[in-house]
Symmetry: C2
Subunit: 312 residues, 2 copies
């Protein structure tokens, strides 16, 4: 039951020879959710052996080129590969114009459909939900409207004990009810309480993606207790003024936010190319929040399962 | 005096983990001419240490995504880098719509101008010329209009002998005239013939770029005696029918064309991803034209200087 983030691109607006523009993919139980799609995303997907056909949903934080210029190439490649399934793109209303341009000039005779689900980044709330996962918007602050995204696993069922299945000869119907919390009544009429038959459920896992934003205190409410947080750290602390001017954050700001929000692990990236050694930014953040990691293209960050009450 | 091709991307429409979509750059005397601009071209330019600021001219063969989806990212990055010089893009008339879309949604407050020089791929002839170089169109045959490009160095001046400069005390004005072929008259009135003062000029060098095309005999006229020819070889000979159906060529067809046109060296690429080992295609071509090379991303192909009449 994976809940694993793979970083596909970790540069800021200007890519480097080793960092592609922003893109990530979140594997939730072997379904892959693409987050932003900078130029070259399809190449990174191949390079890091992500099965492209398992991507059906793309979430776009905002309409700056370094977060979306990989979409046209991805759309075209899916067509060449004979894709049939709809591809769902969650993006700002204005993305409609880019999609229309693609469809008119490059989308002739496409084997599948791109479905645009427009949203307003300034409105927090649910934009996607299925049996296992929900995705919510966090309104961010930048030069244009930007959305952060929170991915939350749904509350999971209790885990049934394997020895209980054998001991009571439980059938599939029994198991389903017990996992939902019901007690079991034996053919002899004896009630066995759910707590004897099960182990605690796994804690639902969560990931938040926030890039191209100034740091502001309200973010703590949105990010409270996240297992994993990706937060941009475009600048070092000495360039804090520049961060503010350009609608970005410093590594120290990201770390303070992670500490106040009590997140499990902080990932930082989107580093300005002005810093030759990004260790400067990582070390500044770790002084405040030790569980900080500077991401690189191709890195994977799995969130492991923890039983509720195990004191993770 | 460089005349060197660098391959930036060598895949066919679908990139792979090691081959980016089509892009090349031709260094002519330290001025860099970009040919096609597939997704990720700006990343490859950085990776292969091409000085991006030396690119002022881009030649686009046709408007399929795998040849142009790197343009928006390149345009944006130049803006972030504060480019001031005009960027000249030579492309089909219909490119105007893509450029307009870029300018409207991503080009706000650009620090420089993209100048579109429209052309009609079916009309052969000159589309660019400066003191050192000319670029001509070759009409190709594909599912949409496609242009091949011939890059030709201008006829070069005679080379003056260093010992002659010392012997006759030649000034800059004298040297210029002698290099143009004039004889020299000494202050004593003695005429020294140009041939005694000079070595033959260097042969003007030439490169032809032809991709996304069926093979047809008229091409021989356009490609006669090229020093370097890049010709697509999407398919192996066993898939010749498929090549014809899709408006592409086989490696054998490329090799026969190179032989008939008496080119110096044949480069092949744009290999279909169906072939696990491209050696199959390279070997098929070499049987016919031994000077065939299968290109890989990052490879450089310099054309060396040869004096006229040196029997290269």
């Amino acid at each position: 039951m994976s809940f694993t983030l793979t970083v596909l691109g970790s540069s800021s607006a200007l890519p480097t020879s080793t960092r592609f523009p922003t893109a990530q993919v979140l594997n939730v139980h072997e379904r892959f959710f693409l987050i932003d799609c900078g130029e070259g995303t399809q190449i990174q997907l191949r390079r890091f052996s992500i099965n492209m056909s398992k991507i059906n949903h793309i979430f776009i934080s905002h309409l700056h080129g370094d977060h979306i210029f990989g979409l046209y190439g991805l759309f075209s490649s899916y067509n060449l590969m004979g894709r049939k399934k709809d591809l769902h793109v969650f993006a700002h209303h204005d993305f409609a114009a880019s999609l229309e341009h693609f469809n008119r000039y490059f989308g002739l005779g496409m084997s599948y459909q791109v479905v645009h689900h427009p949203f307003t980044p300034s409105r927090p709330g649910l934009i996607y939900e299925d049996r296992q996962l929900s995705v919510e918007i966090i309104p961010l602050r930048h030069s244009i409207p930007v959305a952060g995204f929170v991915f939350r696993e749904k509350q999971r069922l209790l885990n049934i004990r394997k020895d209980a299945i054998a001991q009571y000869g439980l059938g599939i119907g029994d198991i389903r009810k017990i996992k939902e919390g019901q007690d079991f009544v034996t053919p002899e009429g004896i009630t066995v309480p759910s707590s004897e038959l099960t182990l605690p459920a796994y804690q639902p896992r969560s990931y938040a993606f926030c890039t191209d934003t100034s740091c502001f205190s309200k973010l703590q409410d949105y990010l409270r207790d996240m297992d994993l947080l990706y937060f941009e750290a475009t600048f070092a602390e000495k360039d804090r003024k520049l961060a503010k001017q350009t609608g970005h954050s410093t590594a120290v700001q990201a770390a303070k936010l992670a500490r106040e929000s009590r997140v499990g692990k902080l990932l930082i990236g989107h580093f300005s190319t002005r810093y030759k050694h990004v260790n400067l930014l990582i070390n500044e953040a770790r002084e405040i929040f030790p569980e900080t990691y500077g991401v690189e293209d191709g890195e994977k960050y799995p969130v492991s399962l923890q039983r509720i009450g195990s004191g993770a």
